[in-house]
Amino acid sequence: FFFFFQVGELVRRKGSVGEKRMAANEEAVKYVWEGAIPLQIHLHKSEVASHPPPPPALVLAPRIGYLPLLVHLIKPYFKDSLPPGEDSIWFDYKGLPLKWYIPTGVLFDLLCAEPERPWNLTIHFRGYPSNVLIPCEGEDSVKWNFVNSLKEAAYIINGNCKNVMNMSQSDQEDLWTSVMNGDLDAYTRLSPKIKMGNIEDEFSRKASVSSPQSRQGGTEIDVAGQVKTARVPVRLYVRSVSKDFENLEDVPEMDTWDEISYLNRPIDFLREEGRKCFTLRDAIESLLPEYIRDRAQRSGEEGEQRTTDASDVSQETRGELKLVRIQGIEMKLEIPFSWVVNNLMNPEFYLHISVLVKEPQR
C-alpha cells in the first residue's frame, strides 16, 4: 500500500508520466541543482591597497546561480585591501568583463573550452565598465533579471505571462530565495504555484504509453495522431573558430563578447505520432541552419572510399558543430530534445546551450 501511496504522491505532484521515469527525472534535476564550479577569485591588482596583497578567495559557485550573489562570500577576503570609496562590483575572465545576468555555469561552459579548475576570475570593486555592462545593484538586479526571464519563458510556453504575474509577492520571493540558496526541495514545492505548462517528455511518454498515469496532467495533452507544436525557451550561445582544432586547449581565447552570437529565441518543437524523435541536433539545427549536416554524410557512407575528392572539400568548407555543452555536459546530439529540456533547464525555465562551431569557409 505504501508503495502505491508514494507513487500516487509523485503522480499527483507532477501530474504526468510513469513512476520509473519520474524518479529518474528527479535525479537528473538534483544533479543539475548540485552542480558547482570551483572559483579562484583574485582582486584586481590596481585595487590592492595592502601589502602583502591578499591571497585569492576560493569559492564554490552554483552552476545555476549568478556571480553577484557570491559577493558576500568573497568580499571578506579583500575588504582590508580595498581602497576607500564605494563599491561597484564586477568580474572579468582574462580581461573579458563578465555578464552578470548569465548563470555562472553557462559562463564557464562558454568561456573555458578546456575546463579550467579552479576557474580563475578577477574581481573589481571600482571602475565599473558601464559602457559594456548593464548596471548591477547586487541581489535586486539579479532577482529582477530572474523574474523577467521567468516571465519571458512563461510567455513562450503558455502564450502569456499571467501565471507569473498572478503569483503572490511572497511566493515570488520564496521562489527566488529557493534559487539563491540552491534549495531544490523548496523550489519543487513552489513550482506548482508557477503553473508553467508542461513540455511533454517524448521519451517518457513513449515508454509509458500504456500506463494510465500518462493520460493525466500538463497543458500539452496531445490527441493521438495529431501534430502538436510547443515552443521551448532556449538561449543559445555560439562561439566560432575559423580553423579546426585537435584539442580544446587549442581553442583561442575570447577577447570580446562580439565573438559570441547570442540567440534568445524559442525552438519550435514539433511532435507527431509516428514521426521520429525530435533530437537535440534537430533543435540546434533549427536555430543554426548553416550547420545542418549534409544528409548523405549523415547516413553513414563508411563503405565509400574517402579520398581528396569533392565530398572532402565540402566537409572542409561546411560549418561544423564541434561541441555542445549544457550544464557542463558534452551532449550527444541524438538525445531526445524533450528529455534535455525537462531535465537540464535552469530554474527560470530556460535551456542554456553553449555551442562551439567551426565556421563555414566563405
Partner: protein, 223 residues
C-alpha cells in the same frame, strides 16, 4: 499560424512578417516623413550565421536640442544631422547655437522579439562627447505627456537592458502587453474585422510607441 501575408488575430507578428512590415514601414516613412532621416535595415550577418532576411531597423543620430530648464516640447525636435551621407559625422559647431542648450543624440532600433512575437523599441541617448545619457536625463527630453504615461501605464515602461545584438546597454520599451493594444488598435480602425495587413503592422505599432519617445508619424503613413 498564418503565413507572412497577414498578421495573426492576436496582435503578434512572425519573423517573416516583421521583415515585410519593416520594409513597408521604412518606405512609407521615407515618402511621408521628410522632416526625419530614413530608417535603414541592418541585416544580421555575422561570422556564424548568414541570415540576410533577418535584421532590425535603425534610425540614428537624431538630435534633440533641449534647453536645460524643462522637458522639450515636440517642436524643438530639431533634426539637423546630415543624413543624406550617413558616414559623415555631424558638424557640431553649426548646431549648438545657444550656449544654454545641449545637443542630445538619440539612436532608435526596432528589433523583433522572437519570444513575444512583437517588435521592440530600443533606444539610447548620448551627448556630443559620446557619453551616454542617464534615464533621468532622457526623460527630460521626452514629451511631458509621455512621462506621465510611463508613470501610470502598465503597458509602457522603460528598462535598461543589453541590446540583443550589440553587447551594449540600451534602453528598451517593455514589450509585454504590446499584442493587446495592437489588437485594440486594429479592432477600432478596421471595418472588416481584426486583421491589420502586415504592411501596416509596424506603422500602427509605431503610431503608439513612437509617441512615447517623441517621434510622431504623419497621418499619411497610416493609409
Amino acid at each position: 499560424m498564418d503565413s507572412a501575408g497577414e498578421v495573426v488575430n492576436d496582435g503578434k507578428i512572425t519573423l517573416e512578417g516583421f521583415t515585410v512590415a519593416a520594409r513597408a514601414f521604412a518606405d512609407k516613412w521615407k515618402r511621408h516623413n521628410l522632416s526625419f532621416p530614413p530608417w535603414s535595415w541592418v541585416p544580421l550577418i555575422n561570422r556564424t550565421m548568414l541570415k540576410k532576411e533577418e535584421g532590425y531597423l535603425s534610425l540614428e543620430k537624431i538630435i534633440i536640442l533641449s534647453s536645460l530648464e524643462g522637458s522639450a516640447e515636440e517642436e524643438s525636435l530639431d533634426v539637423t544631422a546630415d543624413w543624406s551621407e550617413k558616414e559623415e559625422s555631424v558638424d557640431l559647431t553649426v548646431l549648438v547655437q545657444n550656449v544654454e542648450d545641449e545637443a542630445h543624440y538619440y539612436d532608435y532600433h526596432i528589433v523583433y522579439s522572437a519570444s513575444y512575437m512583437v517588435p521592440m523599441l530600443y533606444f539610447r541617448g548620448y551627448s556630443s562627447d559620446g557619453k551616454p545619457l542617464s534615464l533621468d536625463v532622457i526623460k527630460r527630453d521626452l514629451p511631458s505627456s509621455s512621462v506621465s504615461l510611463l508613470l501610470e501605464s502598465k503597458w509602457t515602461f522603460i528598462t535598461q537592458e543589453e541590446h540583443p545584438y550589440l553587447n551594449r546597454p540600451w534602453f528598451k520599451l517593455h514589450p509585454c502587453g504590446t499584442e493587446e493594444w495592437i489588437k485594440l488598435l486594429s479592432e477600432s480602425s478596421s471595418s472588416d474585422g481584426c486583421q491589420i495587413p502586415v504592411e501596416l503592422y509596424l506603422v500602427s505599432w509605431f503610431s503608439v510607441v513612437g509617441q512615447v519617445v517623441g517621434l510622431k508619424i504623419p497621418r499619411e503613413m497610416l493609409i
